[in-house]
């Protein structure tokens, strides 16, 4: 293997896709058009829960300019009695989520779609569709959905022997929880509540689909996985995967929310029916109403510790909103919440609760921020009651190499304690605080993921390099892949181009999600590069007429080694490429594998807030994220992940929430009242990158993107407590809520 000189790994190179993005030329999903294109629009339910008695599309079809009207009849049905899984998604729910059958289950649930010559005509036609509903009682919040006489969303879902909105559970156990609590000198038990929040990607969902006369479909859309788009569209339309080409547009943010489809199957069916390319663009309102937020939750956390700060027992019970169909991220809540700690007796339990809200989608470390929120707040109280520094308390109990996690695995080498030490020693932790200011800390964990990846690395005829991978680049992964390729081949970074292939041009690659992309693509690119280096050595061997084993690849050149050292002048990549035809043909290699060895990531955050005691406004004054990233291939984009996740956490903790009104309608579907942090809300966001290399990865990479959203909810809550002397047990800590806590009502 090539020695890593680290000429390029760890460098802040300019990303290969950058120039197009700063000039407005990069093609995002809704930027593409086609000759003859028509426009689609989706009719959505005005009710949170209703039976569909009839749908009459005659008037809509008769409107001039209308080309196609579709309903659930045009989408493949998946009967309720048999799960059909694609990753974590069940096609039974997916087919009903993109087009309601029998019942509408949330305000904004699609139930018909129209394609017409203009967007305005398509919208007008939707309003001409006559739907007869039988309105049913609904349940929005968890409490309402799980009470005895709750309206049931899905009659076939049973819990405790009767129809229920509890669609599933998940449990982790270690040791004996009762015995553990008996040994505790202090036990703290608290109830917590969080609201549903949206991923908030600025690019709404959209797609353009062209089905040709031979039945072959081409899809342009932005998603976190072109192969997911192909597979789901195939399932839901019945077109075989070989006849669907999904081309990944540049993606304007996803954060987990673009791991499922909403529009592609509808546009595909309408293009099939009309023979015209169909474009659908979801507006912001519908994106908020009907595309995945992450769960709101309620939870009960109980932790017991001895006087010297050793945690002897911990329990977390979580109820998570799934939205209208099963599938909330209880695994993240129940699995990640206690992972930073070595606790002898532990128990976590998660309930997956359906209610009349839009189906949740993944959001950065799905479930883990909810899990960590309660645990990290209770730890703060334990530290206070034992008069131990909260970071020391975490250190006393920190998981390390060899610790068996509550969710099962035994941790390999990892850097959690390193994040705690860095926090304790950081100037931020010692800086003085002003009036009404407080400082909070919290830690967090995310599993990280491996999975299928493919890469192709080709040497161009003039001796440069083109690398293709199969994962949409959400925040600089192409730049990192260019760094790694340049490093391995020993050439200048700007000689490497990195592209994202479509489903027809690169092998299957799983979603951009779970913090897997750089971990997995670096692995397959490294393997491809090794094969190519061997090919280059073979070609040099042929040119020189010596044995290929007697050749080294160094600094972008083949050099004769061993007995032959110095006998021939080195051959550069360009010189070998120039002779490729004569020495055996094109040089390049692909590699595809199900990657393994993604190890978890840990972070510790420090946050200072200042509270306006008259208005209840919480302002973040200083924030430091400290994270073990394994190895930072492109430090600026690693930092960017830390900063972006932290900003989303600040929004979740302080200002973002889904607000449903008494009619079961989402009331805040715009950015004015769904309040994400803006530039003037935030300070500079400091980061400390810890590098404890992942032993199972050639460059030591760990996933980076999700952990940053895990600690902020608790770090900010703990800081608010320090500032005002009272604790909040629910999010968001919006001004009216904080004011109430201050006033003690």
């Amino acid at each position: 293997m090539n020695e890593i000189s680290n000429k390029w790994i760890g460098k802040n190179t300019v990303r290969p896709d950058g120039a197009e993005k700063v000039t407005g030329r990069a093609q995002y999903s809704s930027d593409t058009t086609m000759p003859g294109m028509i426009w689609g629009h989706v009719l959505r339910s005005p009710h949170p829960h209703a039976k569909i008695i009839s749908i009459n599309t005659k008037k809509a079809e008769a409107l001039e300019g209308v080309k196609s009207v579709i309903t659930s009849k045009d989408i493949v049905d998946f009967p309720l009695d048999k799960p059909v899984m694609l990753g974590i998604q069940d096609m039974r729910w997916m087919c009903r989520n993109i087009m309601a059958r029998d019942k509408v289950l949330f305000h904004g649930h699609p139930l018909a779609a129209v394609a017409a010559t203009t967007e305005a005509i398509a919208e007008k036609a939707c309003n001409l569709i006559e739907v007869e509903y039988e309105i049913l009682p609904w349940a929005i919040d968890i409490e309402d959905a799980i009470k005895d006489d709750a309206p049931i969303l899905h009659d076939h879902i049973h819990f405790d022997g009767k129809p229920s909105n509890i669609a599933g559970t998940l449990e982790h156990k270690k040791g004996d929880i009762e015995e553990g609590f008996e040994k505790a000198d202090v036990i703290i038990e608290r109830d917590f509540k969080t609201e549903a929040v949206h991923q908030g990607y600025l690019e709404t969902h959209s797609c353009l689909v062209s089905v040709a006369a031979d039945g072959r479909a081409t899809i342009w859309s932005s998603s976190q996985g072109q192969f997911m788009v192909r597979a789901m569209t195939s399932f839901l339309t019945g077109i075989p995967q070989s006849n669907i080409r999904a081309i990944p547009a540049e993606i304007g943010g996803g954060f987990g929310g673009k791991t499922i489809v909403y529009l592609e199957p509808l546009a595909t069916v309408m293009s099939q029916k009309t023979g015209r390319p169909v474009k659908i663009v979801m507006n912001r309102e519908d994106t908020m109403r009907a595309s995945g937020p992450t769960s709101g939750s309620k939870s009960k956390i109980k932790i017991g510790a001895t006087k010297d700060g050793k945690i002897v027992a911990a329990q977390g019970i979580y109820y998570l909103q799934a939205g209208a169909f099963p599938g909330s991220p209880i695994r993240g809540a129940a699995g990640c919440s206690l992972a930073p700690y070595d606790i002898p007796n532990a128990h976590t339990f998660g309930y997956d609760v359906v209610s009349n809200r839009s189906k949740v989608a993944a959001y950065r470390a799905p479930g883990a921020p909810i899990g960590a929120y309660g645990v990290e707040c209770v730890l703060d109280e334990i530290a206070e009651s034992l008069k131990i520094c909260p970071l020391e308390l975490r250190k006393i109990n920190a998981a390390k190499e060899g610790t068996k996690a509550v969710h099962g695995p035994v941790f390999p080498k990892m850097g959690y304690i390193e994040t705690l030490d860095a926090a304790i020693n950081h100037p931020h932790y010692k800086a003085p605080l002003g009036k009404h200011q407080g400082r909070g800390v919290a830690s967090g964990f995310w599993f990280n993921a491996g999975g299928e990846s493919s890469a192709q690395l080709n040497i161009t005829e003039d001796g440069n390099v083109v690398v293709t991978t199969g994962h949409p680049d959400v925040g600089g992964s192409r730049a990192s892949i260019a760094n790694i390729t340049a490093e391995l081949l020993g050439i200048n970074h700007d000689r490497v181009s990195v592209l994202i292939g479509d489903t027809a041009t690169i092998g299957y690659s799983n979603l951009t999600g779970g913090s897997r992309v750089l971990f997995a693509s670096a692995l397959v690119v490294t393997e491809s590069a090794q094969i190519v280096i061997n090919q280059l050595k073979q070609r040099a061997a042929k040119i020189w007429g010596i044995d290929e084993d007697a050749i080294d690849w160094e600094n972008g050149e083949a050099r004769p080694a061993g007995d032959n050292a110095g006998k021939f002048a080195p051959l550069t990549l360009a010189e070998i490429a120039d002779k490729a035809t004569a020495t055996g043909g094109p040089i390049g290699a692909g590699y595809q594998v199900n990657t393994e060895g993604a190890e978890g990531g840990f972070a510790t955050h420090i946050c200072d807030v200042e509270v306006d005691m008259d208005l209840g406004i919480v302002r973040v004054k200083r924030y430091t994220s400290i994270q073990d990233v394994g190895k930072a291939i492109h430090p600026d984009y690693v930092e960017g992940q830390l900063q972006g996740g932290c900003a989303q956490g600040i929004g979740w903790a302080l200002s973002e929430e889904y607000i449903y009104n008494k009619d079961g309608h989402l009331d805040n579907t715009g950015f004015l009242d769904y309040r994400m942090p803006v530039c003037s809300d935030l300070p500079m966001l400091d980061t400390v990158i810890i590098e404890v290399p992942n032993p199972k990865h050639p460059q030591g990479v760990r996933g980076v993107g999700e952990v940053p959203l895990v600690p902020p909810l608790a770090a900010i809550s703990n800081a608010v407590y320090q500032a005002i002397g009272k604790r909040s047990y629910s999010l968001p800590m919006s001004p009216p809520k904080v004011l109430k806590i201050i006033e003690g009502s």
């Binding site: 802040n12 300019v14 990303r15 896709d17 950058g18 120039a19 993005k21 700063v22 000039t23 407005g24 030329r25 990069a26 093609q27 995002y28 809704s30 930027d31 991923q199 908030g200 990607y201 600025l202 690019e203 709404t204 540049e250 993606i251 304007g252 943010g253 996803g254 954060f255 507006n283 912001r284 959400v474 925040g475 600089g476 492109h634 600026d636 984009y637 930092e639 960017g640 900063q643 972006g644 996740g645 932290c646 900003a647 989303q648 715009g670 950015f671 004015l672 994400m676 803006v678 530039c679 003037s680 809300d681 935030l682 500079m684 966001l685």
Partner: protein
């Protein structure tokens, strides 16, 4: 109703188009003039991804009627680099990794340009409040603010 004929100037080129009275500037830029660099993330003036400069002032093109452009001078992201050379802000955004997904970037660049045109020596607070009309969900704004401040500094030095 008859369409309205508009003569205007976009990125230093004369442009004519026909639009409906209710068409927004953003929809004409994107759907008629193929200037898709301006993005629509909200359509309600709350995100700034559609930012353009109209007669020297920063505006949300989703809140402006296409008919209003008559006789004016419009700058969009497509006109920011000249002769294949990136504007200092564009270059700095690249060097400082001030973009992740990049969907907000055209809007931030237009807004930052308008800021520096008005106030070449902004403080961090001024940058943060000026850019408060532009949402970015990826970066936490840190690197964007730093990039703008650095460009302002560079301009000072070269002045």
């Amino acid at each position: 109703m008859a369409k309205i004929q508009v003569s205007t100037n976009i990125n230093n080129e004369s442009v004519e188009y026909l639009c409906e009275p209710h068409d927004t500037m953003l929809s004409v830029l994107r759907n008629q003039l193929d200037l898709t660099g301006s993005k629509e993330s909200c359509g309600s003036g709350d995100c700034g991804s559609c930012s353009v400069i109209l007669d020297g002032e920063l505006v949300c093109s989703c809140l402006m009627l296409a008919a209003e452009a008559e006789g004016s001078k419009l700058e969009t992201i497509e006109g920011m680099s000249e002769g294949g050379k990136l504007h200092a802000l564009q270059q700095k955004f690249l060097e400082k990794a001030a973009l992740q997904c990049g969907i907000c970037t055209p809007g931030f660049l237009m807004a930052s340009k308008a800021l520096l045109d008005h106030n070449p020596t902004p403080t961090e607070t001024e940058v943060r409040f000026w850019l408060a009309g532009n949402l970015c969900r990826c970066t936490g704004y840190d690197k964007i603010v730093k990039a703008v401040l650095e460009v302002a500094d560079d301009m000072k030095e070269s002045a």
